[in-house]
Amino acid sequence: MNTLTIAKRVMKQLQGDRRFLVLSIIAPLIIIYFLKLLFDAFPSPFPITDFTIPISAFILHFLCFILCAILLVQERTRGTLERMLISGYRQSSIIGGYTIGYLGLATIQAAAVLFESLWLFNLDYSKETVFILFIVIWLLAIVSVMLGIFISTFARHEGHVFPFIPLIILPSVFLTGLFIDVNALPGWAAFIGKCLPLHYAVNIIHEIIKPEYSLSNTYLDFIILTGYIFFLWIMASVTLRETA
């Protein structure tokens, strides 16, 4: 009940901040267009299909993480987070409410990013593949929201969120299999890569975009990716502090 009350409030807040709303949808679309310009400039033949959807997923992962972390840090700096807790809202309700509240935006972002990538890069996938790709990107967006909430605990103001970008988000670019198979990396680097949620989303995408894919090959990755949601929910609930 309290979770839904908070979710309603977050949705209302997002609706009220039109500039934030528009930017959070438009920004990934512009970045994907830049990606198209970059790929077009590469000498052909270039295996566009191997990189387009994984990179699009990363862009969304990055944006959802940062936007959600900043929103929650704002709650802390404005004192509304402390007030919510002292009024009787529990940590788990706040995190659940935030995730549900952000889910609508994350769904729009995931759909927009996926369909722009398919259209811009002329990717011809079956309906089933597109649906599974959407689910993966959507799940990754939820994980990113959770990660943002969890990281916000360690930030006293918005500026504190930025050091976490090179610590958590940027290693995902190099270590999760976005450009090269993680097993080709040194053992310790592969281990770090396998700890990052993007690795599992990338694994599923790589499997699904094969002409002859097997869904059963993705089950474990799906379970781990979904597990991240619950793991980060618990971690964020435990660490969410009342005062700065």
């Binding site: 009350t5 004192g79 509304t80 002292i86 009024s87």
Partner: protein, 287 residues
């Protein structure tokens, strides 16, 4: 009268900084208890320890007979908290803010109680306006409503009158007195010494330590007044205490009727003068 708050040897350290040292306080039920002290004295730290938002380093605290940390969620149904900053959602109306914070406790007839609370805070005309369009004083009133919506037995108010105009300050103190008269305990922190007079009892806090706990009247008696009397061009100066009898006794030496045993002076300060000017203008406008 039972104690709403009992604090026994409370200490709070931030590393080497001793924010609170051996705090010993009892707050009787149904009183306005003032926590007076300059900025940085430890007022907010003490209030946050009482509402269970901060873990103390040592000592015992009981609020309504409960431990603020161990019985956190049970206690929070019975306490109200008004933080120093308004801590409201600017993109929600006054009414929506009160409903949102009230929803945490699943209060029956929340809508009706919210309307009553808005009327109590004289905000009925602006109830549906966004808080972002409110003045600082109006935000304080909305914030107070959020702290009171679940009908708490005790309310902790952290500098509720900071940065608001004298007229509104007076209105807020009238509201506080109404609440205390209805049996609610109010624990109010302030750095404004003149507000101490409006409390039933005060504790003066400095550098994390309690200097004195007493009624404001008793504290005033500790004050001294310099009396200068010029007679035939000769000025004589004497120091008297703030007891009303002392001035009469001193003036009897200059021929004051022996039957006059007490003299009290109530000179207006700047705030009183400004408020009376506002009142006068408002009366004129009503005519």
């Amino acid at each position: 009268m039972e104690n709403a708050v009992e604090i026994d040897n409370l200490c709070k350290d931030y590393g080497k900084l001793h924010a609170l040292r051996n705090i010993l306080l009892n707050v009787p039920e149904g009183t306005i208890y003032g926590l007076i002290g300059p900025n940085g004295a430890g007022k907010t730290t003490l209030i946050k320890s009482l509402v269970g938002a901060l873990k103390s380093t040592s000592g015992n605290v009981k609020v309504l007979g409960m431990d603020p940390l161990r019985d956190k969620w049970k206690l929070r149904r019975q306490i109200g908290y008004m933080p120093q900053s308004p801590s409201l959602y600017d993109d929600l109306s006054a009414k929506r803010n009160i409903l949102f914070f009230g929803s945490a406790q699943h209060i029956p007839e929340l809508e009706k109680k919210t309307s009553d609370m808005i009327a109590f805070a004289e905000l009925t005309d602006r109830a549906d306006d966004f808080v972002r369009n409110f003045s600082g004083g109006m935000k304080k009133r909305v914030s107070l409503c959020c702290a009171l919506i679940h009908e708490p037995k005790i309310v902790f108010l952290d500098e509720p009158t900071a940065a608001i105009d004298p007229h509104l300050k007076l209105q807020l103190w009238k509201l506080f007195r109404q609440l205390a008269n209805s049996g609610i305990t109010l624990f109010i922190s302030t750095h404004l010494m003149e507000e101490a007079l409006l409390c039933d009892k005060v504790a003066i806090l400095r550098n994390g330590e309690i200097l004195v706990v007493d009624t404001p009247q008793n504290i005033l008696k500790r004050g001294r007044t310099t009396l200068k009397i010029t007679e035939n061009g000769e000025t004589r100066e004497s120091i008297i205490d703030s007891n009303p009898d002392s001035l009469a006794i001193e003036l009897q030496r200059f021929g004051l009727n022996q039957n006059i045993t007490s003299i009290t002076l109530h000179p207006d300060n700047m705030e009183d003068i400004v408020l009376s000017m506002i009142d006068e203008k408002e009366k004129q406008e009503k005519k």
